[in-house]
Symmetry: C2
Subunit: 199 residues, 2 copies
């Protein structure tokens, strides 16, 4: 037990607040941190503190950045006429891994979810409309997740944007590459059938 | 990709140095930390930094503590005549969970392991001998792990301590409570047979 060793208790409870880290893992991590050379532990603390101080949301796309506007928004080799709309910053990472998309992004910072009290005004939809109104945008690709909230958010955005004369598309849903039809759920198969294309 | 966002890259590489956290988990944690209120992230950084500053090894038993000697060593309700010898500080936690042992501890800070270049002088054996020589100790319970290094360390310590007229014991090895004989390995069964007791 750590009763009495307040700095260890505090460290454990702080670590246990991270996702996927329960009280046992937190304890293991805390002891590992204590076992590390003091300079390494200080570097870890400084990295956390520094990231919070220096990283903020890009004023244009809403992605995390340490400069404003972010490097994607100011990248001259990327086209301004296509904007990919995603739920959060991690989705931008996933999209960039593909190395194919050369447009810009718009990070909503969430999805419409009445159950959680999140309405259209709580996510960055207004900012998206403003970007489209500024002109120069030909296509909005909506890449929210294929679940109830993601679909609802997608329809909501499409309804607002279409009158502005911009093409609004949704990424395809279907059997993932390397996936197995046998094990696919019925919704995925339904979407794959609906989205079928001529060969 | 985070290319360019140096504070995020640094945070990820720092987090990935923790045990059980690979590059994907590190990324997930880094984004979670960025998503947290800034004050919470600062608290986490401060907890790490503070633990490193305030926690050190007890000058008597070698366990982690924020006061010296530690609270176990100065606890008047615990007997001085029994010392439980363990490999590292986490083992003290495990022992204390039992809530039965009311003696003191001695944390070796490792085990003798010629393969890793760790000899008897690299762990706190001298300090243990000194504690026994000071008198008042009747029994030394050796609770190193039941592996080659743990056994070797145990025998080494026993050989040094026995001439000092102290009782040296080793914790029992056998089938764990709730364990299944069918699935126990042969070494465990051998130890369980060797350690059998009259009913």
């Amino acid at each position: 037990m750590n009763r009495g060793i307040e700095p260890i208790e505090t460290l454990c409870s702080q670590l246990a607040r991270l996702p996927g880290i329960g009280s046992k893992s937190a304890l293991r991590l805390a002891y590992h941190i204590l076992d590390m050379p003091k300079s390494s532990a200080k570097e870890l603390a400084a990295a956390i503190s520094n990231a919070c101080d220096k990283v903020h949301h890009c004023s244009i796309c809403g992605n995390y950045t340490d400069v404003d506007p972010c490097r994607v928004c100011t990248d001259k080799t990327r086209s301004d006429d296509t904007i990919c709309v995603v739920e959060d910053a991690k989705d931008v990472l996933a999209m960039e891994k593909m190395r194919e998309f050369r447009g810009k992004y718009h990070v909503l910072g969430g999805v419409i979810s009445p159950m959680d009290g999140i309405g259209p005004d709580d996510i960055r939809i207004k900012e998206l409309i403003a970007r489209v109104r500024q002109g120069g945008v030909k296509e909005i690709i909506i890449a929210t997740n294929p679940n109830i909230e993601g679909e609802a958010t997608s329809s909501y955005i499409a309804r607002l944007l279409k009158p502005l004369g911009v093409r609004v598309t949704r990424i395809a849903h279907g059997i993932p590459i390397g996936g197995n039809i046998e094990y696919a759920d019925e919704m995925t198969i339904l979407k794959a059938m609906e989205g079928r294309r001529e060969l």
